[in-house]
């Protein structure tokens, strides 16, 4: 049993409800037990200055510390921003300043012990690839997936930590029976941060990445970041039109891909909520009973 303090982030509770729905179901099957932090603030997403986001994130880290649990995120951006704050808060002088100026009023103190881990890392480092493989009921055989990480699960190196974390999606895809279809842009920006600021730039990035996945023969892309999903799925039609081509590349949240391989119902995993149809993916799935009897 792996236990975590769970930080779902704003987007899985807002415009990507299927991420929350799918991770909940997958965690059940993987024996991951979580206590959701319901009274903590938005990480700031790198938009807010660290002068204000560090105290907010220190408060979140302190709450997880009180529970004696590591913090689990399901968003690359939340992971990167809270992870970076946790790293800065390793400095005793800075931590004392944040505690005194911001947390003491609420009777909180952060001691600097909370580990911050994205669900992607938990799958490999806590659940384990062997355990995950043993739970597969519907191998994703014959299906090609292009990984798309989200910037903050790739950089900066000191926040991301172990270098092999940059290849975890590929490892998980293979364990689930799928084929990795590499794309050069898997660690680049999806375009989302520019969407409301410089839309043509955002769409050009989206068209580039989804188009590359299509050109390389992927059946779907998979991402551990809901912001990347909002962009690559939600803006793909406009991006393809701007690039004057057809793409129609389904974009799966990481727990959706895992859930499909573990035999969960595609509809229950929220595949019907996507903008780019996932029907072709669903059509390729074998019925669980047939898949189980074949293995």
């Amino acid at each position: 049993m792996n236990r975590f303090a769970f930080y779902p982030g704003c987007v899985s509770k807002g415009s990507c409800p299927e991420l929350y729905e799918s991770v909940e179901q997958v965690m059940d099957l993987l024996d991951i037990e979580v206590e959701e932090l319901t009274d903590v603030g938005c990480s700031g997403a790198g938009v807010l200055t660290t002068e204000v986001s560090d105290p907010i994130n220190a408060r979140t880290l302190a709450k997880a510390e009180q529970m004696g649990l590591a913090l689990m995120t399901i968003c690359s951006t939340c992971q990167g921003v809270i992870g970076a704050a946790a790293l800065r808060l390793q400095d005793p002088e800075y931590r004392a300043f944040i505690n005194k100026e911001y947390l003491a009023a609420e009777g909180l103190e952060y001691k600097g012990t909370t580990e911050v881990k994205h669900f992607l890392w938990v799958l490999v480092e806590d659940v384990g690839l062997d355990e995950l493989k043993a739970l597969v009921r519907r191998p994703l055989e014959g299906m090609g997936f292009s990984p798309f990480y989200g910037c903050y699960l790739r950089r900066p190196a000191d926040v991301v930590g172990r270098r092999e974390r940059r290849t975890y999606i590929e490892k998980i895809t293979e364990v689930l029976g799928g084929t990795v279809v590499n794309i050069s842009g898997k660690g680049k920006c999806c375009g989302f941060p520019s969407l409301t600021i410089n839309e043509p730039n955002a769409l050009a990035m989206t068209a580039k990445h989804t188009g590359e996945a299509k050109d390389n023969g992927a059946d779907a892309m998979v991402t551990p970041c809901p912001l990347c999903h909002l962009e690559l799925d939600g803006e793909q039609t406009q991006a393809a039109a701007a690039a004057r081509r057809t793409i129609e590349m389904p974009i799966l949240h990481l727990p959706q891909m895992v859930g499909l391989a573990l035999g969960l119902d595609p509809k229950g995993l929220g595949l019907g909520r996507h903008f780019v149809s996932t029907a072709k993916i669903v059509a390729q799935l074998e019925p669980v009973e047939a898949a189980v009897s074949a293995t």
Binding site: C10, V11, K13, G14, S15, C16, P17, T38, D39, V40, G41, C42, G44, A45, G46, V47, L48, T49, E51, V52, P55, I56, R59, E101, Y102, A105, E106, C151, Y152, R154, R155, P156, A157, S184, K188, C189, G191, P193, S194, T196, I197, N198, P200, N201, A204, M205, K208, G234, G272, R273, H274, F275
Partner: protein, 320 residues
């Protein structure tokens, strides 16, 4: 050790110029850098290989190129670090710049962007009788950006420049910060006004690529974020980017979490009727899929919101 290099070659003087990969397999000492190996190739295997280098000690910034897909200074990158088991090492010219030949790129784009930010002090007021004086303390912030060796690695791998050549890019913006933050400069306000425009600070995607590839720790993205703060404080909230930051802060301070729908509306402009109308079909599609979070005033407060709000108030009072 064995060095197995895959080098991207391009010769514009060929009858039908096209890029191709060429392999070199050479024996080199353990301590060799990528640059050492390339120089050995040029001197002993293939004198036609074009590359740019000078100091061989990470000072001149001449030998930036892509090693295994990411910009590096070739003289600072040991082969044993990128290919400890003699794995193939892919070496290509920098990105986002025109290739002149093989590993040599045209740095015109890079220098034009640096020139565009007027990279020299523009003091205001009467000239002092002797030199301009700046305190040690006031120059501390400038040490990092002043360390830039103009190698172009950040420009090579910038994800915004990849789709928009109009973007000033990380090197020029870090250089702009160096002058905006210099107490002797008298043109900071005008500089910030320019940086607030299309192609300036708001077109950075915050992807950390420039921070990752900079060989001397300038961390251009961090400098760009500081410039954003300065733009908002000194020029005001006049662009979608600035409105985005303001709306983000407002919703988190009020409710503890992000009001995504209002964030988009605020960034476009609440009274930008044509834009808002153009987004109506998208809004409908989002609504149908159950993916439209209700905006303010329906955006509910999260438990603990008062504590998050208190952090904002405390921060604002400290700023003043």
């Amino acid at each position: 050790m064995q060095a197995n290099l895959r080098v991207r070659r391009y010769d514009p003087e060929e009858a039908e110029p096209s890029a191709r990969m060429q392999e070199y397999h050479i024996e080199v000492p353990e301590h060799f850098t990528v640059l050492d190996a390339l120089i050995q190739v040029r001197e002993e295997e293939d004198p036609s290989l074009a590359l740019r280098c000078s100091c061989r000690a990470s000072i001149c910034g001449s030998c930036a190129m892509r090693v295994n897909g990411q910009a590096h200074l070739a003289c600072k990158t040991r082969l044993s670090a990128v290919a400890p088991e003699g794995e193939p090492v892919t070496i290509e010219p920098m990105g986002n710049q025109r290739v002149v030949k093989d590993l040599v790129v045209d740095l015109g784009v890079f220098w034009n962007k640096i020139r565009a930010i007027e990279p020299y002090l523009q003091p205001a007021g009467p000239e002092p009788e002797e030199e301009y004086i700046a305190s040690d303390e006031s120059m501390q912030n400038l040490i990092t950006p002043m360390g830039c060796i103009m190698c172009g690695a950040c420009v090579s791998d910038c994800t915004a420049l990849e789709v928009d050549e109009n973007f000033l890019g990380p090197a020029a913006l870090a250089k702009a910060y160096r002058f905006v933050a210099d107490p002797r400069d008298g043109a900071s306000h005008e500089r910030l006004q320019t940086l607030n425009e299309y192609g300036g600070v708001w077109d950075c995607t915050r992807c950390y690529m420039c921070v990752e590839v900079c060989p001397v720790g300038v961390a251009p993205m961090d400098r760009i974020m500081e410039l954003r703060d300065s733009v908002m404080n000194e020029v005001g909230v006049t662009t979608p980017g600035a409105r985005h930051v303001e709306s983000f802060a407002r919703s988190v301070a009020r409710s503890g979490w992000l009001d995504e729908t209002m964030l988009a509306v605020d960034s476009w402009g609440r009274f930008n009727i044509p834009k808002l109308l153009s987004q109506a079909p998208l809004g409908l599609r989002v609504l149908v899929r159950g993916k439209l979070p209700l905006p303010w005033p329906f955006h509910h407060k999260r438990a603990g919101a008062e504590f998050v709000g208190r952090i904002f108030k405390r921060w604002e009072s400290k700023k003043q």
